[in-house]
Amino acid sequence: MPGQIGLIQATEVIKLILKIGKPLIGQFLIYNSLEVEFKLFPVKKSPSCPLCNEEPKIKELENYHEVCGLESRSQAVT
């Protein structure tokens, strides 16, 4: 399963470098391997994004592990 996603990522990298095709910018892909479903959702810049809007709340990097409280690494996820 991570193989397919990793290769989609690699393909996106190559498209970005070569500036060819339509990149996955503004689109979110969900792949369900058991159902063989590829779904593509359009996603937009959020005007209330805490990071990339014009008056961001986040002005520098935080301490991410404290924020999430997820210190342990999952072995199952990737």
């Binding site: 990793g6 690699a10 996106e12 996955l24 979110f28 959020s46 935080e62 690494r73 990737t78």
Partner: protein
């Protein structure tokens, strides 16, 4: 498109056709690549005539050749080659079209024409040098020839790939296959940051690492695996954890960031650091049988991860 189909056709049917054509045109003499090489070394007086199409020249040619695509020969030969007794070696990609071109020249009255058997592909296979205007080496022209023949890539695109710098965050389930393909495609610099060591439970999906790598740093085994696939690739390893302190500094040295991390804190750190460094971030995530991917590039007008999910999920809600 027509040309591409033709090239593919010649490649597949080449050897068979060459034999059949040779039967039909027994009067055309063939010369081996070794003999051509010997004559060139002796600086014998002769003309090398490349009869391939213009776009094929990107794959390299013999130094000092004249270029006339086969279809243009009847019209151009007499202007370019006024001396009909000069020895001419005609070549193409695989030695098929050159038989037909040699035949044409003979019918025009050229007396010492031969066709180079196996063409420039055979020449390269034999390890002889080819010239190129691209700055790519002979080996690179051959290694990336299937890219170079694609109109979307070409030599220009391949050079871009070779100059590109891509950082992989994590050499795990996502980073491994991504690294394999990026390395094979000739992405010139691959950075890999991972502080983990190879575990037996990783091997069922983390395909850069082998059984004998268990216990070794993932960055090390990844570097070796990449070198085996493509020695053109420069691998920069960071056997450390990505943190708020080192992230932006590392990201600044790369063109694109690929997220192969396995936890939310790192994904949000990658998102924010990529934003501050102004780099596109290729997101990927997998849970059991479902996967996700996107490209977050706020600089190009797209959203970032926080536009979709402003905050990381609270602890306890996330399957780990």
């Amino acid at each position: 498109m027509g040309e591409r189909v033709k090239q593919l056709f010649w490649k597949v049917a080449g050897p068979l056709l060459r034999r059949a054509l040779k039967e039909k045109h027994r009067d055309v003499s063939e010369i081996s690549i070794q003999e051509v090489n010997r004559l060139l070394k002796k600086e014998e007086r002769m003309v090398l005539l490349d009869v391939r199409e213009k776009e094929e020249l990107a794959l390299g040619y013999l130094k000092g050749s004249l270029f006339v695509p086969r279809a243009g020969l009847p019209e151009k030969a007499e202007t370019l080659l006024p001396d009909k007794n000069i020895p001419i070696v005609v070549y193409c990609a695989a030695g098929v079209r050159s038989i037909l071109a040699a035949k044409t020249l003979m019918e025009m009255g050229y007396s010492e024409v031969s066709s180079m058997r196996e063409g420039i592909e055979g020449w390269k296979k034999a390890g002889y040098e080819v010239a190129s205007d691209t700055g790519l080496t002979s080996e690179q022209l051959t290694r990336y020839s299937r890219h170079i023949l694609l109109k979307e890539v070409g030599t220009e695109g391949q050079i871009r790939l070779l100059k590109a710098k891509v950082l992989l965050v994590g050499a795990g389930g996502l980073g491994c296959p991504a690294a394999l393909y990026l390395a094979a495609a000739g992405v010139g610099t691959l950075g890999i940051i991972d502080d983990d060591r190879v575990d037996l439970t990783n091997l069922q999906r983390q395909i850069l690492h082998r059984t004998s790598d268990v216990g070794r740093p993932k960055t090390e085994s990844a570097k070796e695996a990449i070198a085996r696939i493509n020695p053109d690739v420069k691998v920069v390893t960071y056997p450390e954890r990505l943190t708020s302190e080192n992230a932006i500094k590392i990201f600044e040295g790369y063109d694109i960031i690929v997220d192969g991390s396995d936890n939310f804190p790192t994904k949000y750190l990658v998102n924010d650091a990529a934003f501050f460094a102004g780099k596109p971030f290729v997101y990927g995530g997998v849970f059991q049988f479902e996967g996700q991917a996107s490209v977050f590039a706020p600089k190009e007008g797209g959203p970032c991860l926080r536009c979709l999910f402003p905050e990381p999920p609270p602890p306890g809600l996330v399957p780990s």
